[in-house]
Amino acid sequence: MPPGSARMVLDGIGVTPGIAIGKAHRVDRDRISRVYYHLLSPLQKREEIERFEAAVSKAEFDLREIRSKIVGDFPEHVYILDAHLHILQDQMLYNETIRIIEEQGINAEWALRQALENAQRLFAKIDDEYIRGRFSDVDYVAAQVLSNLTGRNAQSVAGIKERVIIVAHDLSPADTMQLQVEKTLGFVTDMGGKTSHTAIITRSLDIPAVVGLENVTQAVNSGELMVVDGTVGRVIIDPDEELLNYYHERQFQLERYRKELARSAKLPAETEDGFSIKIEANIEFLEEVVAVIDNGAEGIGLYRTEYLYLNSEYPPDEETLFWNYREVAEIIYPEMVTIRTLDIGADKFSAKMGPCGETNPALGLRAIRLCLQENELFRTQLRAILRVSGITRNVQIMFPMISGVGELRAAKAILTEVMESLAQEGTKFDQSLHVGIMIEVPSAVAVADLLAREVDFFSIGTNDLVQYTLAIDRVNKQVAHLYEPLHPAILRMVKQASDAGRKAGIPVSLCGEMAGEPLYIPILLGFELDSLSMNALAVPRVKQIIRNANLEESKACLDEVLQFSTASQINEYLRELTWRRFREDFELFENKLGTLSSTHGDLS
C-alpha cells in the first residue's frame, strides 16, 4: 500500500501507461450556463437565427484556422477536423436548431441543446460501441457553437507556458493539435474510454493519460499539484510529501524498468534453473511482423489468416494468398511462422456459402468444418501455404477447431492430395513441413492422446477452449463474469493436453490471451510447455518475468493450484505468489491493490 495521503484520489481508465507529476491546468469547456428565454415576435426569432448562424460561422472559421495550421505529419487529425466541419453544418444540428427556434420560439442556446439531445438519443441506440462513442465529436462541436453564443472565449490550450497536466472535460482533436507535446506532462479527462480520441492520440504521443474520470474537472483546480498514474488509471490530487516521494520513486523505477525491458527483449526466456520456453507472437496482419521482431518474439506462433477473406466479396485467389504468406515468412525468417488455416464461420462469409441463419454459429459450420465442406476454398489456401514452404522452409500448418481424429484425418487427406498434385506439377514444397492442430474443443482434449499420434505439434487455443468448456459466450454481458480462464476444469484440460503431447514426443504450445498474462506465468511454466504465443506487445515483460522464475517452483505451484476447487481461490493464490516472487515487476505495472487514504473521505 502506498504511504501518505492526498486531498483526493480518483480512479478512471488508464489509456497510456506511465506516471506524470505536475501542476494541473484546467481547460474549461461545456460548463457554460445557458439561460432559457422565449422569443415572441417574428423579428426576434429572425435575429436569434442570425445570432445562431454567426456562432456557427465563427466555429467554422476557428476549425478551418486550426486545420490550416496542421502540418503534414498528422493526416488523422485533418480527417477528424473535416468530420467536425461536416457536423457543424449537418441538418441534424444546424437545420434542426433553426427549426426549433422558429417553431418553439426559444433562444438559440436552448434550441441547440434540444437538437443535441435529440441527436444523443439517436446515438444511444447504436449497437456498435465505436460508432456510438462518436457522439463525443457532436458534443464537442455543439460546445464550440454554444461558447460562441454566450460570447465567452473558450479557453485555449495553445497558450500554456509551463509543463503541465491537462485537465479537461474531453479533449478534442483540435485541442490536442494545439498542444505542445513538450509542455504536456499528462492528460486527464472526465469523458472517454479506451477508444476515444484522447486515448488514441496520447498513446501515439506516449504521454501518461487517464480518461473516464467523470468529474475530475470539478475536483481539481488549476495550479494544484497532481499525479497521473496511467499504468493503473489513477489520479491523485494534492498528495502529501510522503506520497509524492513515493510517486517520484515509482516514476523513476518504471522508466528505468521499461528501458531495461526494451534492452533485454531479445534475450531468451530461460528460468533461473535453466528451463527454456520459446516466446512467439500472434499476428493477424502482415504489417504486424515488424512489431513481432522488435519486441523480441522468437517467431509467429499463430498467424490468423481470416483477414484476407473478410475483406473481399469473393475468397482471395491463390496468388494473393501466396504473396501475403511469402512476405510474412520472409520477414520473420529464420524464425518459424505457424499459419492457421481459415478459422471463419459460414455466417461471417459470403452469403453464397453455407446455410444462412444458423441459430448458433459458434457451434455451427465454421473453421475446419467449413473447409472440409468447401473443398476448393481449403485447397486454394493449402496450395498457397505449401508453395511458400518450398521457398522459405520456415512454415508450419495448423488446423483450427479439430474435434476428433476423423476430422483430422479428413483434413490431412486433402493436404496429401494437394501435395501430390503439386509434386506432379513439379512445384516445390517443404516435404518435411510440420502439421499441427489447435486444441480448443473439449473433445480434442479428451482424445488428445489419440490426436498426438497423428500430428507434429499441438497449440492449445485457450480463448475458444474456455468458451466451449465453460459454455460461456464472453461477449454476452449476462454471463461474461463466468468466463474464467483459471477455472479448475480449464487447468486440468490444459494439463491433460500438454501431458498427452509430451508423452507422444511432440511440441506443445499455448496461444490465446492466457499466454500473455504475467499473473499466469507460474502455472504456464508448470505445464512445461514448449512455447507461448501472445500479443507482441506483451513479449518483453513476459520474457523478463520468466527469466526471474524457476521451473521447480512453478511445478510445485501448479500441483498446489490443481488441488483448489474454484477459480477465485486459484486467482488469489497466484496474486499472492506473483506479488511475492516478481515484486519489482508487479509493483510497477499493476499497483491496483493499494488503497490510498484521502483526507476527503474514502474516495479510492
Binding site: H86, A119, K125, D127, I131
Partner: protein
C-alpha cells in the same frame, strides 16, 4: 430515375466519423438526392450525423440510391470510396 448500387462496408471500424466525412465530402459535390439504405432504414448521404446514426459497422450491407441529373457520377464517386475501403484497413 433512381440509380441503385449495393456495397459492403469492409473497413475495420465501419462508417465512423472520418469515413462518414469522406462520404459527405463526395456527395455534397453533386446535385442529386443521395440516400444510404440499410435494411428498412435510410440516411441522407449528405448528412454526416444521419450516416453515423444509421450505424454501419464492418460487414454491413447497404444500398446507395441516387436521384437526379448527376446520379451516375455520384454513384461512381462513392464506388471509388467503398471499393478502396476509404483508404483504411
Amino acid at each position: 430515375m433512381v440509380l441503385r448500387k449495393e456495397f459492403t462496408i469492409r473497413n475495420k471500424l465501419g462508417l465512423h466519423a472520418r469515413t462518414a466525412a469522406k462520404i459527405v465530402q463526395a456527395t455534397t459535390q453533386f446535385q442529386s438526392r443521395i440516400r444510404i439504405i440499410k435494411n428498412d432504414r435510410e440516411a441522407d448521404a449528405k448528412s454526416i450525423l444521419d450516416i453515423l446514426t444509421l450505424s454501419c459497422p464492418q460487414g454491413t450491407r447497404i444500398e446507395v440510391r441516387a436521384e437526379g441529373e448527376d446520379a451516375a457520377e455520384a454513384i461512381s464517386a462513392l464506388a471509388v470510396l467503398f471499393d478502396n475501403n476509404f483508404g483504411e484497413e
